[in-house]
């Protein structure tokens, strides 16, 4: 698939290379909207963006300008890439929560949008193996945070992984991708807080019993869910890769608003903590590197000089 242009056997090299390189996004000032589809509480928007598709990998995101050229809404809205291809299309899943996202969900096929991408770092992938001989992967999604997990599942299948998908949300209409999960995953687990689909409660309750048969965890969703996933994975001795959702002003690494406290591998204590950009160093981080308990708290005053331009220490074992 388009998301995996390097084919098999180069995954580790590719991950190492990604860690050292800045993303090379492009800006499409007038990309055509191909399809706008309501899907439960969300809207799926497909855009013709071949220049972005060519470089995009699962876990990366795109940023849409909203409101038109004279809009008072200055900042882009970022969405993880839900589907890559075919034929030069990318798809995102939008929840209409404010004026900018509402404007986006009101687009119709044929409209033009200004998008920048692909942005950020992709999910690292395991070394390819024969079908059924790759690592057993658990993919956890919260609400429309599940969006990037389907393209990821495709890449993991190509590497011989066995895939379990666990999706959770407040209610059935906010549970994204149930039919697709059933189609693509080897097994599924669902949870809703109102009990309308699957287990009643949080998604962690749905997948916790499965962790003993898992080698590798991926997750995308709200920060509280990611914190729980990272904690449970660590307790089970399983590496996790989480894609964070952070408020961003620019999405391209210049504004320093989307930072979160991360401790690179091999460092200890507060002195090792860095405030790193979710947009360029992330959005995918090793789950055990993110210091969830420090989010929203004043960072340590003194630190070693942050590496420039990007730390190369966020590679995690696969």
């Amino acid at each position: 698939m388009a998301a995996d242009p390097n084919g098999q056997g180069e995954a580790v090299t590719q991950v190492a290379g990604q860690a050292l390189a800045l993303p090379k996004p492009v800006q499409l000032r007038s990309a055509q909207v191909l399809r706008v589809v309501r899907d439960g509480a969300y809207t799926r928007i497909a855009v013709h963006a071949p220049a972005i598709v060519d470089a995009a990998k699962p876990g990366q995101f795109v940023a849409f300008a909203v409101g038109g050229p004279a809009s008072g809404l200055l900042l882009r809205r970022a969405f993880s890439i839900a589907r890559i291809g075919p034929a030069g299309t990318i798809e995102v899943v939008v929840a209409p929560v404010g004026p900018g996202t509402r404007w986006l969900t009101q687009r119709v096929a044929g409209d033009r949008v200004d998008i920048v991408g692909p942005l950020g770092r992709a999910f690292p992938l395991p070394v390819a193996a024969e079908r059924g001989h790759g690592p057993r992967a658990l993919l956890v999604g919260g609400g429309y945070g599940a969006a990037p997990l389907f393209a990821l599942a495709g890449s993991l299948h190509a590497r011989g992984c066995d895939i379990t998908m666990a999706l959770g949300a407040a209610s059935a209409d906010k549970l994204y991708g149930v039919p697709e999960a059933r189609r693509i995953a080897d097994r599924t687990a669902f949870a809703t807080e109102d009990g309308s689909v699957g287990v009643t409660g949080r998604v962690t309750a749905a997948f916790d019993p499965l962790l003993s048969d898992i080698d590798l965890v991926y997750a995308c969703g709200p920060m509280a869910m990611l914190a729980a996933v990272a904690r449970l994975a660590k307790a089970a001795g399983v590496p996790s890769h989480i894609a964070v959702e952070e408020a961003m002003a620019c999405g391209i690494g210049v504004c320093m608003t989307c930072v979160l406290p991360v401790r690179p591998r091999g460092t200890h204590g507060a002195a090792g903590v860095r405030m790193v950009r979710a947009c360029t160093e992330g959005p995918v981080f090793p789950g055990d590197a993110v210091q969830f308990d420090l989010i929203g708290k004043p960072p340590p005053v003194v630190t070693a000089s942050p590496a420039s331009p990007v730390p190369d220490t966020f590679e995690a074992p696969i």
């Binding site: 000032r29 860095r274 331009p309």
Partner: protein, 351 residues
Amino acid sequence: MSRTTSPESVSGAADSAAVEIPPAVDLSTTLAGVPFPNPIFTASGCAAAGRELNAFFEVSDLGAVVTKSVMRDPRLGRATPRMAETPSGMLNSIGLQGPGIAAFLENDLPWLVEHEARAVVSIAGGSVDEYAELARTLRGAPGIALVEVNISCPNVADRGQVFACSATAAADVIRAVREELTGGSQPPVFAKLSPDVTDIVEIAASVVEAGADGLSLINTLLGMVIDPETLRPALAGITGGLSGPAIRPVALRCVYQVHAALPQIPILGMGGVRTGEDALAFLAAGASAVSVGTAVFGDPGAPMRIIEELADALQVRGMSAVSEAIAAAHRPAGTPLRGAGAAGAPVGELV
């Protein structure tokens, strides 16, 4: 000239040659005797140190890159949330997260030099001594076109009073920086002023008296957003700097007032510039060059677009050079646009 935008036109590195300037328009400008090929700069804190934007266009095509304010030591900045969108603007409270001056000089400035960008280096400190030390560290560093002194920082020695809000404290900082950067080969010093003062002309006059070669106008305005759900301040830092088109009229007023009072002092104007017409308004108010800040967040290709739009905007008015537009708002009503200004002394060079 209008840019032809095909449905799939790409503004990427490969497309940088697409910047088309009408040959009849001379976009060059000077600030305190330093020449720049065009008057569109980035704004401090809105372009990091140029690397990220180089994915969208060649940083050498900018008039200059104004780097994020760097302090003596590395800093992690403030807690999150650091940002809130506001009507035609945004608030930020980053807390000057950055690598510190040593890492900046080792990694960032050489990168800009290597990529043939003109670098305006912004420095910030918590004490007069820190500013002086930063200036001393910059002495002799190759590739600095100008030094911009961000004095909108709390003065640790004065209960956190912002330097830029006191004519005396602002002058103390500029004098200290100026003393460290004396000598013919040292870059000119620009003081970046805050609009959050009763009389910006008084502060401007004070820093010029203390040795500033030019002025950067304006920094953000202090603002606040209340989270409608928690009814608490939306930013972890409680207050933040307001930027974007919402502040443009305030910025233009400041540039106009300061130029009227100190016509020989070159001004780098900024505040909500989003289009070439906006940039032209700043030139008319008295700026010799214009920084594009918050617009870059929403439109990373904005500086190149604005350069083209400015050239168009000059041409449709029959003007052939940026110098004709500078301070046009200060000329008597009815003065023809074309040919004005160019024959006079260049702004910023004492006559």
